[in-house]
Symmetry: C2
């Protein structure tokens, strides 16, 4: 390790290399629950593609593992430091290299913040559609690593659908280019799609060509308060039955409203026990909103047609409904998705599970695509209740899978959910993925212990 650190020090100026405790600690974890805490041996701040290649060449030579990191806003521990690793930060590679209005694409470095790209392309009447709740701080590279979703994906698709081409540094330092600048292209296997969502375990994304969409001319927001969460969830299906595709369809339960009120001084909880927040956009925004209001009123929803300012405020509140909280031993946010028809049933099950295990529960959901973010908690510091919390988490995973769901809709497996993956995927599918991992990263240097469980006999 000493020789590796010496080699780093001779390759990078002090401003790009940190080994002090403060910086190591600051780059040791993302916002996900920490199972085992490690400090990296060093943090390298890459400023160009060649820096990333240099780190990988040294890491390969010295057999040191590399954890790549963007803004560190992930919530599954995908960027947690592992034992003896170097953390490679791509935050400084934050240049928008090109915006081409007629081609409707942008080329960016991985450290570009999602909101910065959106601000830059808005001048051209364009938008970058994937919008995780962290869009103000998270990077495009991190979004790609997790195949991030967000609020708008029911209509516009997840990150994968907006990534056309990638520049990727492989484990041995080789730089490759995958994909195409065109919207369509089927030459060769879909390597681009394989890298998207691979959580830094197959290669390091150092550049991306992304497809842009048209910034909607009009946006309408509908806030519908319901007495019960389950009735609000039924509203999601009613909108679907009317064959209207909203851009955003978010469901917030009573406990989430209470928390928002406490943090923001709002009065949401007094207006209902659950909030269904819907945005339509585009040339038919108003027509679609009228249909939705009619459907939700018929279900007993109290519809507020928010004015624009209030609408923006509510959506922003929803985006920040995780608040300042970071998951820990006493509070864990989940990310399962279930088929849309199971939403109502799954939410009832979550409430049952929380009651049985005596733990707290609040739920927000990207309801349009059946992706739920339940948060289970016990009192901070109540170590005796942690087993109940974990039992509730495990049971919620099993029930979601039994309903045809997945353990992670958009946050990624990271480190925290590795233990649940074998509940969803059979051993032969896991083994196929391990072999792909070994093909791309034979020394197992890239983000070890993330995304995939070790082989049973390992």
């Amino acid at each position: 390790m000493t020789s590796f650190l010496a080699a780093l020090a001779s390759s990078f100026p002090p401003g790009q290399l940190a080994t002090d405790q403060l910086q190591l600690a600051a780059h040791a974890a993302d916002q996900g629950p920490v199972l085992e805490h490690y400090l990296p041996v060093a943090v390298v701040f890459a400023e160009r593609v060649e820096d990333v290649q240099a780190v990988m060449r040294l890491a390969s030579e010295h057999a040191v593992s590399v954890v790549v990191r963007g803004a560190g806003t992930g919530v599954s521990g995908g960027a947690h430091a592992t034992e003896g690793c170097v953390v490679l930060s791509l935050e400084r590679m934050n240049r928008i290299l090109e915006i081409h209005s007629e081609d409707e694409i942008a080329r960016v470095e991985p450290g570009v913040v999602n909101a910065d790209l959106n601000a830059a392309v808005a001048e051209y009447g364009l938008m970058y559609a994937p919008d995780p709740a962290s869009y103000r701080t998270s990077t495009i590279g991190g979004n790609i690593a997790t195949n991030a979703g967000g609020l708008r994906c029911a209509k516009y698709g997840v990150t994968r659908e907006s990534v056309l081409a990638l520049d990727v540094v492989l484990a041995d330092g080789t730089l490759i280019h995958t994909g195409h600048r065109t919207f369509k292209g089927v030459a060769g296997y879909d390597l681009t799609g394989l890298f998207v969502g691979s959580e830094g375990t197959l290669g390091i994304v150092v550049g991306a060509t992304v497809r842009l969409r048209y910034l909607p001319t009009a946006v309408e927001t509908i806030a519908a308060f319901f007495p019960e969460f389950t009735t609000a969830a039924a509203g999601v299906l009613a909108v679907g039955k009317a064959r209207v595709q909203p851009a955003i369809m978010e469901l917030l339960d009573g406990n989430t409203l209470v928390q928002l009120d406490e943090e923001q001084g709002s009065d949401l909880r007094s207006r209902g026990g659950a909030l269904l927040l819907i945005q339509t956009d585009g040339f038919a925004a108003r027509t679609e909103a009228e249909i939705i209001r009619r459907e939700l009123s018929a279900l007993g929803g109290t519809i507020t047609t928010e004015d624009h300012e209030e609408a923006v405020r509510l959506v922003e509140l929803r985006r920040h409904s995780r608040g300042a909280e970071v998951d820990d031993d006493f509070r864990v946010g989940e990310d399962g998705a279930v088929p849309r028809s199971q939403l109502v049933h799954y939410i009832a099950e979550l409430q049952r599970i929380a009651a049985v295990h005596g733990v707290g529960l609040k739920v927000v959901a990207h309801a349009g695509d059946g992706n739920l973010h339940p948060t289970f908690w016990v009192g901070a510091g109540e170590a005796g209740k942690v087993p109940a919390l974990n039992a509730a988490l495990d049971e919620s995973i099993d029930v979601g899978l039994a309903l045809g769901g997945t353990i992670t809709g958009e946050h990624g497996v990271g480190q925290y959910k590795v233990r649940w993956l074998p509940r969803e995927q059979r051993e032969e599918v896991l083994e196929l993925q391990r072999r792909i991992k070994a093909l791309f990263d034979p020394q197992a240097l890239l983000n070890p212990g993330k995304a995939l469980p070790e082989a049973i006999d390992a």
Copy 2:
């Protein structure tokens, strides 16, 4: 080979196994140009997943290569028989297993015809969006193998965006399941995306869960005739600049109009030198159509607001603009895509190339996503002109790539375009794909010689 055929005969009843010359010849090629003609040694008609597994187990044991086939409507030779292969037809696996209206998904066997699925889900107000021109005859399995596009993909995405989960039989006969029933899901690597578009070289798709979209409430069609093809192409950019996303945006040149007139008795060519055919759909169809008409009129287009019947007829004409022709030595249709801004320039280059080499040219384009289908031809039987035809094809590929394009937007590499792939992708990227292929198919049994070029030293 005799022992393999004997093993097949003891595994399948005569009705599922053909070795007569008529059937072998009928299953020897798809609609792509044939570089080397081979008859398969046998054709097996699978009726269930177990049949596919049985074929792969026998093929592995006897080291016989397997060419999988749906309806045989591919145009890149992806389903051409290769020397000593067995052709495995999935046409009889044509059951729609489930349509779930609330989940907005369908589960199908691979032999289901695209149009049959669309007819079945239309009753629920849903549609399966990918619509290759062959949708009346091509199968979902074939669409998945090529990651087929179609007319509607600028708005609704290509096949990849509609495939949620797959059942795949691997080379050794193992059955695996990839993906999820939910719209979103990021557990593990994107194996589903890796199989989509892999042209039967990594595994055999025996089942698919597909996402359905809402059948549009309204459709508006705009037919705009322009004197010149290049001005019509400029219209595509004008619509984009107005930030309107049509469902369909097809461009037909004068020679295509002449051919349609001859085959269909229409009078299209007399109305202009190029036709831009645009459909908007959904609740804003009329508003969007009005904007488009205004933009195209300003560019000098002659706008015909077609009545519904005429609109359907024009779109159907476009879908069949390949006519009954099948590519051969004297006529080859291409499938490149270029960035949208290069459309006008590329079309002018195609016209220049055709003139220089003295070959015929007609062009249709899915203009919304820059995907062009130029057809170059010489007189049938004029063997002396074939070198000029091939020179024109090669040059059109090189020019498209120089403009930032790809050699295939939606038809796939198949057998015919293998020689062009190294012009688009660098050796290290090809080698990575060869290693993935070797991982999935170590005996190289699945569709050999397709999708990827052999290694240079092979």
